[in-house]
């Protein structure tokens, strides 16, 4: 089964970290990605540009409207994702629990339609 791990993070926290803390954070994500790859569950993943760089497109009053900013204005923003392939939801959730994001944000696990 394929699952998407959506990483919801508070973007404003990053610039407040010291350089050493940021390096530690990067290393944690590198190690996690490496662990996913070694276990053979990693399909793809990426960090996303800041939500301030997002644009949303919708139909409004008969025409399409392009607005600056993300769709949802929540406390945390989608900052990245992983696509993984695991036998079931339980193992997907246990991988999510190992993601560094759970320490400072929220990981949402969604199964893909195939």
């Amino acid at each position: 089964m394929e699952y998407m791990l959506l990483l919801h993070v508070d973007e404003s926290g990053w610039p407040k970290l010291s350089k050493a803390e940021q390096e530690q954070g990067m290393a944690a994500y590198r190690a996690y990605t490496e662990a996913l790859k070694q276990a053979g569950v990693y399909k793809s993943g990426s960090q996303l540009g800041p939500s301030s760089s997002a644009k949303t497109i919708r139909l409004a009053g008969g025409g399409q409207q392009v607005l600056d900013g993300p769709y949802a204005d929540a406390k945390e923003q989608v900052g990245g994702y992983y696509l993984i392939e695991t036998p079931d939801l339980e193992s997907a959730v246990s991988w999510a629990a190992r993601c560094p994001t759970v320490g400072h944000g929220v990981v949402e696990v969604r199964q893909l339609v195939r």
Partner: protein
Amino acid sequence: MKYILLDYVNESGWPELTREEQAQWLGVYRAYMEAMQKAGVLKSSGGLQQTQTATTVRIRNDKTEVLDGPYADAKEQLGGFHIIDVPDLDAALSWAARSPTSLHGVVEVRPMHEGTFLTENILNYLKAR
């Protein structure tokens, strides 16, 4: 440049459609994806199961919390995504504007940073110093 198009849709609308209407929408989405494929911009895409099947995981006070349901409880829910490779944001926006989702939901366009997580942030941080 790679961009992700995030499709936010009202899930509750789908079961209310007739079978003919559902078939029509599926055809429209197929045509959209074929157009992106022909243009050579579509890298991957996926549909997500309904948000009632979502699980969220976080650690609070040293305890791992696993909860049923999606992170955000908004009017529309993330229902799928397309990853496209196009020259610039304008091209990404024009593909987003052709998405059937923009007719009944919202398409969010976000640039992607490939490779190591947080790398880009670190670079911006160092440049600012």
